[in-house]
């Protein structure tokens, strides 16, 4: 029940809840999203959108941290070498 997609805030349209809304970009398209739950989102921020409303601002630093953690996995792994047999 929780399909939610990150999109970039392009323009605020209305600031007052419950009708607060902004134009948000997903890939090559934009659409209007209810922003009542993310009042502090700034232009350029990514928000997570579910059922027509933004439910959070996506944290850039946290995203980078996760990807870095995984890169670290890689370096750990590079010390070893039993790879090929695990690919499908």
């Amino acid at each position: 029940m929780c399909l939610a997609v990150p999109g970039k805030v392009v323009r605020w349209i209305e600031r007052t809840p419950p009708f607060a809304s902004a134009s948000v970009e997903f890939g090559g398209i934009r659409r209007e999203v209810n922003m009542a739950c993310v009042p502090s989102a700034a232009i350029g921020d990514y928000v997570l959108v579910h059922a027509g409303i933004a439910i959070s601002v996506v944290g850039m630093l946290e995203a980078k941290r996760l990807l870095r953690t995984l890169e670290e996995l890689e370096s750990i792994e590079n010390d070893q070498d039993s790879t090929e047999d695990l690919l499908p």
């Binding site: 929780c2 990150p6 809840p17 409303i53 995203a63």
Partner: protein, 369 residues
């Protein structure tokens, strides 16, 4: 797409898989709570690739699956009234009640419409002042703020022809119920990332501590899922039943205060029957008294009704992790997405449907055309 593509990187995923395989000393049973996670795992073949390393159990994660058939019957009967329009999300429309689904009712003349957002139902009510528009509100805490905003918008607009048939469910009581099963089947939980986006994860501390079960807040992209599994395995391997957030870019410990605020303005915690589970204490949300005028159950004098479960489908077994879909005797034979016997085969998030769709080609039991 930013924050999507990076988390689908195939090479990084392969590394995470290898890392999990390296870390796991035994085949842990890990339950992903949300149906969206189930689909991600199957769509990307993670399930297959971790076979033998981790046993993935598919949790109660589809609000559609757990909506009691009696509730659907109510929605169907409302939809048959001549001046009523019943709206809901797509998958909800296809779930059979005791007699028929909303879509079937529609094929027989009822006014049933699919909406993308509860806010669309408000717009429909505004544009059709002579019709009673009822939104059949299903969903976990992820969706409840949207429903709450819909009610607030209706109030702002002074609409008197909009109401809710509320079937919102809360995920934590169901997790507690699963964790309380003896013998306990689940070694660790992947908590539903988008539920936590709204609620945060403070509330999982008690669950983790009292049942000594690690809870990892997990996202939906393959790397997120793998990172969650990896973290869960790590916690299990070092016998550390704590709560860890692996979906940090979207989830704060305290959740989204505005979303919680809207939700709590409109809803209060209540007991609710879950299909396959029975009555779960505090397992749902109900409209607060001050919003009673938007309560379709009051507006149309609908009494409480617990379903008598007489179904052959062992959905409860599936949703509590006691049985895998392929272990169900009906799976792929009597029960397919075209002719589902139970809710888990209907919803696109249902575990049985996910298995039917994404099982490795050489495992698939295909029904004859």
């Amino acid at each position: 797409m930013k924050y999507v593509d990076e988390f689908r990187d195939a090479e990084a995923c392969q590394k995470a898989i290898r890392s999990i395989q390296k870390d796991a000393t035994q085949c842990w049973s890990i339950m992903e709570v949300c149906g969206g996670q189930t689909h991600g795992l199957l769509r990307w073949g993670i399930d297959q690739q971790l076979e033998g390393t981790v046993r993935l159990l598919h949790g109660p994660g589809c609000p559609v699956c757990v909506t009691p058939s009696a509730m659907i019957d109510t929605a169907v009967s409302l939809s048959r009234r001549s001046n009523c329009t019943v709206t809901s999300f797509g998958d909800m429309l296809r779930v059979p009640g005791t007699q028929e689904s909303l879509l079937q009712a529609r094929a027989r003349g009822a006014d049933v419409r699919l909406v993308y957002s509860p806010l669309d139902a408000v717009r429909l009510a505004k544009e059709n002042p002579h019709r009673e528009v009822i939104f059949f509100a299903v969903g976990f805490e992820t969706t409840a703020p949207a429903t709450a905003l819909a009610v607030k918008q209706a109030a702002h607009l002074g609409l008197t022809n909009f109401s809710l048939l509320v079937a919102h469910v809360r995920v934590l009581p169901a997790m507690e119920m699963i964790a309380s099963e003896t013998p306990m089947l689940v070694n660790g939980f992947l908590a539903a990332g988008h539920v936590c986006t709204v609620t945060g994860f403070n509330s999982y501390e008690d669950l983790a501590a009292s049942h000594r079960v690690p809870v990892v807040v997990t996202g939906f992209e393959p790397l997120d899922l793998l990172r969650g599994i990896q973290q869960c395995v790590t916690l299990l391997e070092c016998d550390n039943p704590s709560v860890v957030n692996c979906y940090e870019r979207c989830v704060n410990k305290a959740g989204n205060p505005q979303a919680i605020g809207h939700m709590e303005d409109v809803f209060e915690v209540s007991d609710r029957e879950w299909r396959g589970f029975g009555l779960i204490a505090n397992g749902g949300l109900a409209l607060k008294k001050e919003w009673a005028q938007y309560d379709a159950a009051l507006k149309y004098s609908i009494g409480d009704s617990l379903s008598i479960i007489t179904e052959d489908c062992p959905a409860g077994q599936i949703m509590t992790g006691r049985m895998k879909p392929v272990e169900c005797p009906f799976f792929g034979r009597n029960c397919t997405p075209e002719k589902p016997m139970g809710a888990p085969m209907v919803s696109s998030e249902g575990a049985c449907a996910a298995y039917f769709r994404y099982l490795p080609a050489n495992h698939i039991v295909r029904t004859s055309k």
